[in-house]
């Protein structure tokens, strides 16, 4: 009850932000995101969609607006459109953590193997995932799909990409993740000598 009242007050405050500063994109994004909290109603989804479109009119390169748009489209079950919106967000801002998370969870849900692999590769090339869990989820899925060769090459690519990152960047655990995963894969394929050679 209290939470609902606070959300309502926040939504009213974001409306005021837009009223006072209609040229500022942040009010539209914030209100859109607030409307999407919890289980949004049909009318809230429609309003949020309009807000993200308005944000894009003001700032056509806003990755946040495309991510928001993707979230609405996903809720509206327009999944192909949602995927396209998330990809657009990633094209505009390869650092967009939210778009990575949303897109990966949707692709995994849809069991879209090719798209999962494409996203995995994109994330590796950008070296931007904020935690190894992002890869772990996709590892599990690709193992279930028996994509072992692809996984081997992705892990090797991961080792290569994250070896190029200076240690002070704090991404050592990603490299360890890929070494560990690759070694595990070799062990499962009864190739212990390859796993040992890795270390």
């Amino acid at each position: 009850m209290l939470q609902r009242r606070k959300t309502a007050e926040a939504i009213a405050a974001y409306r005021k932000v837009i009223e006072l500063n209609p040229e500022g994109v942040e009010g539209y994004l914030a209100l859109g995101n607030a409307l999407m909290l919890g289980l949004p109603s049909e009318s809230q989804l429609t309003e949020a969609l309009g807000l993200y479109h308005q944000a894009l009119q003001l700032e056509p390169t806003s990755a946040l607006a495309y991510t928001g748009l993707g979230n609405v489209l996903r809720q509206q079950q327009k999944l192909e459109d949602a995927i396209a919106a998330y990809w657009q967000a990633l094209r505009l801002d390869p650092h967009s953590d939210g778009a990575y998370q949303q897109l990966s969870s949707l692709l995994l849900l849809l069991h879209n193997t090719d798209a999962v692999i494409a996203l995995y590769r994109h994330a590796l090339q950008q070296r931007l995932a904020t935690n190894a869990f992002f890869y772990t989820q996709m590892d599990r899925f690709l193992q279930q799909q028996n994509q072992l060769e692809t996984l081997t090459s992705l892990y090797r690519e991961g080792i290569e990409q994250y070896s190029a990152v200076p240690p002070q960047a704090g991404k050592e655990h990603f490299k360890q993740h890929f070494y560990g995963q690759l070694a595990q894969l070799f062990l499962e394929q009864k190739q212990p000598e390859k796993a040992i050679a890795l270390y």
Binding site: K6, T7, E9, A10, Y14, K16, N21
Partner: protein
């Protein structure tokens, strides 16, 4: 200059020329001459202090303002500038004492509240800083400058509800300030 010792335009031109020619010592000497002839020329004091700081001579800049305060013990601007220099030199206790004097002499000087509160935070006295920010806001509730730093300090102290209450108060005072609405809403959704 000998004919018109009070002509500030000639002094300014000469100072600029000397600085362009990198004759810093001569420029400093000229400033000191100006200050002797025109003790009320505040700009000359500030320019000389800035020049001394540029020349990495903070002690001389500090001495300059201390001398100014001996001549003009009620010169709030000299207190404020000296406090700023002391703060830059990490002489926190002295800077704090001066800011307190600034506030005593000019209770509506909100930047002094802000600077003093920041110093108190550096001395690990966040509650004193919070009290001071609130006193500053009470002096001029419609001035938006102290709300954000106070809210940020309250959040650092995990006092989210107090920060929310503060932004509600800020909106009452400044209903046309869009960033206050945004910050209030962001905080409400954080809870």
């Amino acid at each position: 200059m000998q004919q018109q010792p009070d002509n500030t335009f000639i002094y300014d031109q000469l100072k600029q020329l000397l600085l362009q020619l990198h004759k810093v010592d001569e420029a400093i000497a000229l400033y000191r001459q100006v200050m002797q002839q025109q003790p009320s020329n505040t700009a000359a004091y500030n320019d000389l202090a800035a020049l001394l700081m540029q020349q990495n001579k903070p002690e001389e800049a500090i001495a300059l303002y201390q001398q100014r305060l001996q001549q003009q013990p009620n010169n709030v601007s000299a207190y404020r500038n000296l406090a700023m220099l002391l703060m830059q030199q990490n002489k926190l206790e002295e800077a704090i004492a001066l800011y307190r004097q600034v506030i005593q002499q000019q209770p509506s000087d909100l930047p002094a509240y802000g600077n003093l509160a920041a110093l108190l935070v550096r001395q690990n006295k966040p509650q004193d800083a919070i009290t001071l920010y609130r006193q500053g806001i009470q002096q001029d509730p419609q001035n938006p400058s102290l709300y954000d730093p106070l809210a940020s300090l309250l959040l650092q102290q995990n006092q989210v509800n107090e920060a929310i209450a503060l932004y509600r108060q800020a909106i009452q005072q400044k209903p046309d300030n869009s960033p206050f609405y945004k910050k209030l809403a962001d905080l409400l959704l954080q809870l």
